[in-house]
Symmetry: C3
Subunit: 176 residues, 3 copies
């Protein structure tokens, strides 16, 4: 094993390592980064993360192993915990907590596979004071203010009433 | 906190950092990489990833924070999205989409814990045009062509009919 | 895109890259590491990981993309697989297997959001020979010796009898 030196590697000059001894074809290697991000004041980011084309509000914390895609917007005073994934077309309000491994979706594969055209993707909007539990999965929905999504829940429809929701599919456990 | 300089660190000379002030014992530190991978043509990989002993088909995309283990095979024109984990003995066909956080399994712990012997692991085979949703988990099964596995689903038995499957355990939602 | 050189970056001098062309405000950038960890003998760690303030027993293996927080304790001869997340107040016995993407919780959001005060967090204790499946989620509970938690399961209450548990919420599948 040695550091790769083939010219496609670009930025990945120090990390990690490519053993190309078996590679008849060398892959095109890109690297995560923080690119075209509009940060509010006093944001904290723990590397490594992949943030591009998104907007992060004041006083928000972004943990490690997080990806936030372009056209996603995160509000103020949020915590985006490790391993979370926030895709395009997701808008998150203020004072939200997106726990570890929580992930969002914009493509429902309704035609039997990836939509192909981003025009077919659907958006997600979280209000303020929404807490999404660890390993939860959020389909393209609207969630009102003051909602808790339980750990491991799968949210498949809009939530219009404050409360605690859990399960797969997520159902109301109790009102808040 | 300082850069570690103890000799076991090896390749991890620039990332990340080890504070060994409390360490009566120092760990053996290894680092992810791309080792013994057979790439087709025109593959794109976004670092950091851990790929070893696997085979990746033409025109396939591998996102960041992905691990693909040895003896796994990925077909052509696939997308393996961020945070996915593909274990040994998984074979994925062409034109498949493995979404963010989707993970595979080869050891069912049927004896009450890890099998110990790889001979006891079981294999998984996905056909072509299979899309596995975000945070889904796939036990050792066979899945036919033209299947969608919903987000957060847990697939525990073979799927032999094209369709959309979701839930824990996954059930047919509708045929395709 | 260029290597960032603004002074808040600190340790992250080589990885990854920050494009600050759009940044009216620059974030505070920290980096994962291995800090204040008490290692037993013969521990193996695969970088990148984020380990801080925790204790790792003899002969334990920690895979990549793992975070283990302060005040977490891992026993001897365990495997903590890639993408796992182990939070504060989790104690794991000996000979445990925490599979890929398995995550723990200490805050139940019972008041409608993050507890705020760590005093309100609750602890989790796993006995010996406990295997937690891929993508499983463990709420603050006690789990006895010799238990298997199935892939994708969500454990919401104590487990006091050896056996295999699965589903969301997890239920006993069969005794061991």
């Amino acid at each position: 094993m040695r550091r790769t030196d083939h010219p496609t590697v670009g930025e990945a000059d120090s990390f990690p390592f490519v053993d190309d001894s078996l590679a008849a074809n060398l892959p095109r290697i890109r690297s995560i980064g923080i690119v075209d991000v509009k940060f509010g004041r006093n944001v904290t980011v723990v590397q490594p993360v992949n943030l591009y084309g998104c907007e992060i509000g004041d006083d928000t914390f972004i943990g490690p192993f997080v990806e936030i895609q372009k056209r996603a917007t995160i509000g103020k005073r949020c915590r985006i915990q490790s391993h979370a994934f926030i895709c395009e077309l997701v808008t998150i309000g203020d004072d939200c907590f997106i726990s570890h491994g929580a992930m969002f979706i914009n493509d429902l594969f309704t035609t039997g596979g990836p939509a192909g055209e981003p025009e077919l993707w659907r958006s997600t909007r979280l209000g303020n004071h929404v807490s999404v539990g660890t390993n939860a999965t959020i389909l393209p929905v609207t969630i009102c203010d003051q909602v808790v999504i339980g750990a491991g829940a799968v949210v498949i429809k809009d939530i219009v009433e404050p409360g605690i929701y859990a399960g797969n599919p997520a159902r109301l456990l109790r009102r808040l």
